[in-house]
Amino acid sequence: MNDQTTNQVAVAGFDSVTVRYGAVLAADAVTLSVPRGSVYTLLGRNGAGKSSLVRCLLGQQKPSSGRALLLGNDAWKTRRIAMERVGVVPEEPDVPPGMTAAQAVAFCSRLYRQWDGTGVAERLRRFAVPTTIPVGRLSKGQKGQLALALALGPRPELLVLDDPTLGLDVVARRELYEELVVDLADRGTTVLITTHDLAGVEGIALRVGILRQGKLVLDEDMETLKARFRRITFGRRPAAELVTERALTAMGAVRVAGGEWGFEAVVERFAEDGFGRFASEAGVVEPEARAMSLEEIFVAVCGEERGGVA
C-alpha cells in the first residue's frame, strides 16, 4: 500500500499485517483501508483477530509482519504524533480507577494541542457521568461514556472503537451510537469500529470488513453488501430439483435448507433479473427474496456450521 495514496484516500489501514502469538496466527496478511469520512465496521467472531489488529493500528503492538497505517504513516513508528488526531475507546475501560472523571479530563486536556473542553463537559453532563468520584466506582455504561468523551475531546480525525458496547445495556448502547451519529454529522470524523453488536452498527456503518480465523474474508461498502445478500424462500415441485439448484448456484448460494414447509436459500450475488429468471422457472413455487440484516449476512459469511455468531 502506497503511503502517499493512502494518505489521500485512507485514514487508517493495514498492509499485509500478520500477527502471531507463538504458533497461534491471530491475523493473516490482512490488507484493508478505511476511507476518510467513512464508518468502517470490522466484524469477526471472538479470536478472529480484531483486537490484535486494533492494537497494531493504535501503535500499541508491532505486527509480526506488514504495517498498520495510521493517518498515512506506520502506526508503530509514528504513534505519538498520530495520537494527536486519533480518539480511542477501548474494549475494556482503561481509565485508571483511582482517577475521577474530572481528573481524567484534566489529564487528557494537557496532552493535546486542541481540546474541546466544553464539548467534553457537556457530554459528561448529558450522560450524567459523575465527575468527582473515582472511575472505579462508575457503572460500565458511565465508564464507556467517559471513554467516548475523552476520545472525542481532541476533535479526532479518526475514532477507533474496540467493541465499545461490550457489557452495556440496550439504553447505553443506543446512547453511544446516537452520540456517534451526532458527532459524525458534526465533524465528518472517520470511524473504525469493531463490535459484536451488529444491529447497533448497522445503521451507521458505511463499510464492513469481516475477519474469519485471522483472514479478511469480506471488505465492502454496506450498501453493496446488503444489496447482494438475500434470503430466498420458495416451494419446489419434485421434478424441479436440478433447475432450482442451478439457478441458486448462479446467484451465489451460500446455504440452502429445506423441509416440509419449503426451502430457504441465502445468496450472495443477488440480482433482480437473476431472481426473475429463478422465479419463472417451472417447478418453483411462491418464490420470495428478502433483504438481510447485517447480522444475518455475518452469520451467512462466518456460518453457523463454523460456530455461529458469538
Binding site: 493504535l58 508491532k62 495520537m83 482503561d94 483511582g98
Partner: protein
Amino acid sequence: MRGLLAVAQREVVDRRMWLLAALAAGLIPMAAPLLPWVDAGSVAEARSMLASVLAATLTAAGTLALGLSMVGSDLAERRLGFYFARPLSAGAIWWGKLAASFLIVVLVGVLAALPTALVGGNLVLRDLVGLTADGAVLAGGSVVFVLLVLALAHALGVMGRSRSVWIVLDLVAAVAVGGAIWAVGRRFMLAGPMTLMTWLLASSLTVVLAALLAAGWVQVAVGRTDPRRGHMALSATLWGTLGSFALAVVGYAAWVFAAIPSSLECLWEVMPASSGSWSLVSGSSAGRGDYYPVFLLDAATGRWVSLEPTPHWWWFTPMFSADGRRAVWLQPTGLDPSDTRQVVLAELSEPQPRPVATSLILGRSARNARLSPSGQRLAVLAEKTISVYSLPEAALVRASRLDAHSSQISIRFATDDELVVSVWPETGPSTATAVDATLWRFDVRSGKLERTGTLDASRYRDDWGIPADPLGELRLAFHPRGSEMELAMHDARTGALKASLLSQPDQPLLGATFLADGRIVVGESRTAAGEPARVHLFGRDGRLLRSVAMPDGKIGGFGSEVAPDVLAVRLGTLESWAGRGGNTVLVDLEAGTVRRLAAGHVPIPSVSWWSPGRTPATPGSAASRLFRTPEGGLALYDPASDSFTTILDTRWPRT
C-alpha cells in the same frame, strides 16, 4: 516534557495515600512519652529513634512497592493502553512514572520524619550525615539507592507478571553476570588495588542503574501494552547491557592480571636475592591503576614468574634462599588479610620456574615468616609461638611458645637449625627512644627455646635497615649517646658489646652494611667540620681497616659489591635514598680508590625494612650488579666493560 510532567503529576496524585500514611506515621513518635518503657529523660531519644525507624521502613517499603507497581500493575491490569492511546511518548510514560515514584519515596521519608524534626528531635539520619561528614555523598548515595531499588523492583515486577519462559533466561543471565562480576571483584580484592576496586564498584553500580533504567524505558517503548513483549525487551536490554559490561570487566581483568614484566611502566620495588640473578620486581603498569604486578625476574636470562599480588604483600614478600635458587612466600587464601595463608614456592633453578602451592596452610596470625639459608625450612611466628616447618615434607618440625610479655618479636635464622629471636618492648622501639631487647635462641633440632642475653639501649630494631651478618655471629645496633649516635657491634646471640665502631651527631644518620665476607662498612657524613663523607671498612673484630673519602656530597646508602671488594655507594642523603637520580661511585675497598659511575645510575639497596634478615648479595653476582637507570628502569652493570645492560625499560615514579 509536557507529557512527562502530566504523567508524573498524575502518578503523585494517584499515590497520594503514601504521603498521607507517611504523615500519619510521622505523628506516631509524638506518642513516645506514653510508652511504658520510656522514662522522662529519654523521651527525645526514643522519639528520634522511632521516627528514624518509621521513616526508613516506610521509605524502603514505598520504594519496593512503587517500583513493583509503577508500570507493572497498569500492564497487568491492561490499563497501560490509556497512556498509549494519548500523544505520549514511551519516554514520557516511563520517566514520568519513575520521577513521580522517586518523588513520593523522598517525600515519604521526609514526611515521616518531619514532625519529630519540627519538635527538635535529633534524628539518627542527621547523626549519619555528621558521621560521614559529607551530606552530599549521603544524599547522592540515597538517590542512587532509591533509583536502583525502584528500577530493580520494576524489572522484577515485569518479569514476574509476564509469566513467560524468559524468566529462566533472566535467572541464568543474573547468575552468569553476577558470578562474573563477583569473580573479578574477588580477584581484585585479593590483589588489593583499592582504586581499581572502587572504580569497579562504582562503574558496576552505575552500569547496573543505567541498564535497569534503560531496560525499563525500552520495555515500555517496545513492549508497550504487551507484557511478554515488554519482558523480552527488558531482558534483552538489561542482560545485553550487563552482559556486555561483564564481558568488558572480565576482559579488562584478564588483561590486568596478564601483566608481564615489560608491562611495568614504573618500578616501585626491586629486591634481589642474595645470590644468583633473581629479583623480586614490582611496580605500576599503564592502564592498570593501583594494581601493582609482582614478578620474580631473572636478570641474567629475562625469565620471570608472576606472583599474585596481595593487599598487604610486604607481610608476605617472597624470601630467597641464600643460594637464590628457591623463593618462598605466603599467599592469603581469602579476602580478609587475617585469613589463613598458603605457603607457595618457586624453584628458580628449574628451566621454567612456576609458583607451586604447598600443602602448608598457616594460621590467621602467621605474618612473620623467615626462610632458612638453605631454603628448606620456614620459620613462622604466630602470636608468640615459633613454628619451624620443613618445606620438602610440608610438615611441622618444631614449635615452641615464647614466654615473653611483648608481642614485638622478630626472628631470623642463624643457620638452618638455629633461630635468633629478639623481643622488644611493646611500646618500642621507635626513633625517639632507646630500649633494651632480650635475645633468645631456638634450637630447631631439640626444640629448646632459651634466653641468651640482652641487647641494651638499642634505638632501632636490628633488622631495620641493616642486613644480617652472613656468618650469623654479629649484629649491629645503634645506640643514642647524648647528642651522638653510636654504632656498635654485638654478639648476635648474647647481645654482648664487642666493639663500638663509630659515633657521630644524630643527624645525618649513619649508614652501615655487612659485606659478603662478614666485614662491616659504615658511612660517615660529617657536616659540622666540613669534611668530606667517608666510607669506613671494619674488620669483624671491630678494627678500622680503611677509610675512603668520598669525592663530594654525603653518603646516601650502600649497594652491593659489584665485584669482590668493589662496593657501590650512592651519594646523597639517606632521606633521598628512595628518590630518583643521583650519583653513584664504586669504592675499591682494597685499593682505597673511588670511581664514578655514569650519572643517574642508582644501586639497588641490599636491604630494605620490609625484607629483614637478608644477607648481602654475593660479590659479582647479578643481584649485586642491579642498578636503576637514570630514567628509572632496571639495568645490569658489567664491571669489566663499565657498561649497563637494560633489563626493564621503565620510568621513575611520578611524584
